[in-house]
């Protein structure tokens, strides 16, 4: 089953691409194609009649850039320059654990206390800084 919704804001835009750019685009397309259900659901762990499936949220970002041009210096005139680079990062965080046993299937959420505490401190920080600013403007 695959439901796909695509929004393309610049359809029809056509730009010339060089071979380096094409390679980069191919790599990026390959990277984007790896997104799938297997990325999110881990290998099932079996213990007797019970099966445990870990689930996680995965966020991956990737960026490439390439450029080339003609040299304009006195000695280098007529030559060409080119450069390219790229980088990426993947973040992963457990979301829930699915436990399937003969009694049924249940989804147990994973509660990340550290993240909740950090959110609480950030919220307190907002309020405290507003309070300080308003008091100093008095």
């Amino acid at each position: 089953m695959t439901d796909e919704v695509e929004f393309d804001y610049n359809k029809g835009q056509n730009q010339e691409t060089d071979p380096v750019q094409e390679t980069i685009n191919d790599t990026l397309a390959h990277f984007l194609a790896t997104a799938g259900v297997d990325t999110v659901y881990g290998q099932p762990i079996r213990k007797g009649d019970t099966v445990i499936i870990p689930t996680a949220e995965v966020l991956s970002a990737l960026g490439f850039g390439a450029s080339q041009g003609a040299m304009s210096g006195k000695e280098t005139k007529g030559g060409k320059w080119s450069g390219s680079g790229g980088g990426g990062r993947t973040f992963s965080r457990p979301v829930a654990v699915i436990v399937a046993s003969p009694e049924g299937v249940r989804v147990t959420p994973v509660f990340d206390t550290t993240k909740i505490i950090l959110a609480g401190l950030t919220a307190l920080g907002f309020m405290f800084s507003t309070l300080l600013r308003m008091r100093s403007n008095k």
């Binding site: 796909e4 929004f7 804001y9 990026l28 659901y41 499936i53 966020l59 970002a61 989804v107 509660f111």
Partner: protein, 97 residues
């Protein structure tokens, strides 16, 4: 490719047999592609599991991200609290004038 696109896709994995139950994982992937240089962002998250017992219809159990929900609620409360503090002080300073 130089265009901005967002694609949202829901996909199901192959069913996992657990006793006499068939568990089908369902995930959602959001793919952003930025214009200009070749940049991309993929956000994958679990959304539900389909559970099917022999002879029964498939039952869908949603997978909620409780941590994300709590984070958003707490940050929202913080913003609301800041707005309230700002309003209270503004009212006070207006009434003094």
């Amino acid at each position: 490719m130089s265009r901005f696109s967002v694609s949202i896709k829901k996909s199901s994995g192959s069913p996992i047999q657990a006793g006499n139950l068939k568990v089908t994982p369902v995930s959602q992937e959001v793919v952003f592609r930025a214009p200009g240089q070749s940049n991309g962002l993929v956000w994958n998250r679990p959304v539900a599991v389909g559970v099917q017992a022999p002879g029964d219809e498939m039952q869908v159990l949603p997978v909620y991200d409780r941590t994300r929900l709590a984070q958003l609620l707490i940050l929202g409360a913080g913003l609301l609290g800041s707005a309230l503090i700002w309003l209270i002080f503004r009212k006070r300073s207006n009434s003094k004038v």
